[in-house]
Point group: C4
Chain length 249, copies 4
């Protein structure tokens, strides 16, 4: 079999930072995970072992096979149960370089209320809509795939593949009673999208009692997404500094 490829130190450090940022920004608590595609081998991705994101260090990062969602090295430590969320999306979407799965608190209501739609309502969150998601992210109902008595977890490749199909060509998929999964062409943009999905959800929760929502048009959503992606280094630099300071590094 293949010997382990070696991702760049910079990518590993970015993934550690991404874990800490997502925790510091309130996007993950003790649960949730973030991965990045290997920068030297597109058939692999990097993801921590089973642990709280806030505590991840470089030595906790493992390499996984996109084909199977299984780790490259034998005798791994305890792994995340839901690692096929990542592997199946990398398989279905060659353009995706990073994946965040979380239980983002303001997003969950849109995963619980029947028929609710998380439309983009501010210019920082245009990526939620656009021509390929005109009403905002779609919902993945696991009952359609695992029946009425599952533990709601994406426990195997079949469920991971079903989630990836539901995501389609968009950037965010909601998961009923569970959370969401966010994808992007880079780790900073994935973190950006995960944070602003939460921001937009908070805004929408507060706006709905005020009256009719004036959401972004699909054209506005696409235009703002393109503008914002050119600015992703700005929040990344700030959030990394804040997260490192919070950990006293």
């Amino acid at each position: 079999m293949s010997s382990p490829s070696s991702a760049s130190d910079e990518l590993v450090q970015d993934l550690v930072d991404a874990n800490h940022i997502l925790h510091h920004q309130g996007i993950v608590d003790a649960f949730g995970h973030v991965s990045v595609r290997h920068d030297g081998d597109a058939s692999r991705f990097l993801l921590a072992r089973n642990m709280a994101p806030a505590r991840v260090q470089a030595t906790d990062i493992l390499e996984y096979e996109v084909a199977t969602g299984e780790p490259v090295l034998p005798n791994p430590p305890r792994l995340y149960l839901e690692r096929t969320i990542h592997s199946e999306i990398y398989k279905a979407r060659p353009d995706v370089m990073a994946v965040v799965h979380n239980h983002s608190p303001a997003v969950l209501p849109f995963c619980i209320a029947r028929g609710a739609r998380l439309k983009p309502v501010c210019h920082m969150a245009g990526f939620l809509g656009g021509a390929d998601a005109p009403d905002g992210p779609v919902l993945f109902e696991i009952r359609d795939h695992a029946g009425p008595g599952s533990d709601l977890l994406i426990r195997n490749r079949e469920l991971g593949a079903a989630l990836a199909r539901r995501l389609g060509d968009s950037r965010v998929v909601l998961m009923r009673g569970h959370g969401c999964t966010v994808v992007a062409p880079s780790l900073p943009v994935a973190v950006f999208r995960a944070v602003y999905t939460e921001v937009n959800a908070k805004l929408l929760l507060q706006t709905l009692p005020l009256g009719e929502v004036n959401a972004l048009t699909p054209e506005e959503a696409d235009a703002t997404r393109i503008s914002n992606e050119g600015q992703a280094a700005r929040p990344w630099d700030l959030w990394r500094e804040q997260a490192r300071r919070a950990r006293r590094e």
Copy 2:
């Protein structure tokens, strides 16, 4: 009379940590308390003297008799008025190894609004429902036991026993105008359940204005509870690290 039994140092330290975690996570303020059954004598339990949980140290932990809710040693310091919440539940429920009583802020609305039900709506909080609590935790109305002019406190064994009966075989009981009591087979799981009761309550408060709630089925609730209990060390390790850091230990 019996000489004091001696619980393990590890259990005492875990109880100190549980006090600090519950405060750091916003589940208790200056009020509320957490106990654990003695690991060497099932007829006793450990609980702090009357003080804010955030300030509890190992020397503040006392042993109590399950039979009476009274401390083992004579001449105790000032005690929590509501210690029979703990003793009567340990008496009625041999499976219970830890008890948390709190005034969890997002849970209280479900203890105040007539007819409101705290159904499990996310997979982290399946323990709120399941086959033995299909609509979520039941409410204990103290007026039914202490009349219309009480101070709402569980001041004696009779009220503690009535609360334990209302809890039945479930894991959480709401207390009208007061808070809730959470039980579990271990201290980490009790803390986990107390935190995610609050998380689920926040989610439900935010979801209700959006439309019809798609709660977990009883089968999903039971399945997620079993899955999550196998993961309880993950949040416990994180929260303990955070609480210790916050206290600069």
Copy 3:
């Protein structure tokens, strides 16, 4: 004229701590103030000079005359514009030993929405109701006293006296578009009541969308108030420790 009386060092330190606690607990921001009646001369009270409560030190505390709301010493520094809130209440209520005035964020909605009532809904906030305030605190509408174009401030003795009359024998008075004023028989109880007025307001704001509110009966409110006042040292000790830590003292 009279030479300055000398309050105890302990009382001055308690007032400094009360200022810092109220800020740390989010009850005051840069505005709001807390006073205490002089422990050696009931015709005087202690209150800081014009500054943010979080920054008050012992040397910023001045003595004022209850009769006039004016400072004892000549050539004072800049003073709070609304010091007659304090003086007129001490004059009208010999039982009152401490007064907090604030713009408590969750309380304000009950000072803005026409007809809203801040009923006590949890056992920590029984002081809001009881036999002498069966529907919760009353509202002071300054338009009834200063006309439709005032700056809403209690700028003089007449307005202070009108506010004191509206307070009557109760413990909290709401002020339209402005905030509230809380009184108590001691500084720790005044701080306790100011904090739990905010807590109860938050609870009620979250409960109202859920359905009909099951408030404390007047008998429950009075009973819980008496029970809680016996516990006021517990939160005071915690909050003081937290506020001092936050200031790195």
Copy 4:
């Protein structure tokens, strides 16, 4: 061409502090910006280069021409895309000495819900209303100027001028799906107004479910604005101390 004028060190330091205060108070995140008119040359203003406000230092402050919104020095670093918000307002309003643009989280709902009005409801936020804004700030709808497919950004002088016209003689203008812009006769008052715009928005969001809003009259709004502006040093001193402490300076 002109050689660079030199603003006072004090003004530069105040602008650095204003950046940090706005971040610490939650008014800006990684985005948003604050400027001040040059204190030695009214045809220029000071604004940071393109970066998160929390990270701005004195060396990041650049001088810009009011006439064009372009920097005075050649070969500048990367600039904020929306700097004509500032330049066009300074041009249209000689009385304005400081401008804040932000995506203030509680204000956004009033920029999203059709027809919602951010009326002043507490005495700290009278500046939102008054004789020249009797129903609160007006909304700038960028679709009226840039069509239905823009990225919502104020990218050029024409859009900046349109925004300045919509602001008129008032103090705050809302921007649909985007945020708001706040102006003032000094930097401390601009920061004050930006913070209390957010405070008032939070209050109004919480009040609307309670019933009919009793807003300030235009006369009350003008009177409270005048009173509060005399107190602007109090919050400025506190917030600066807090922001500096948070950055460990």
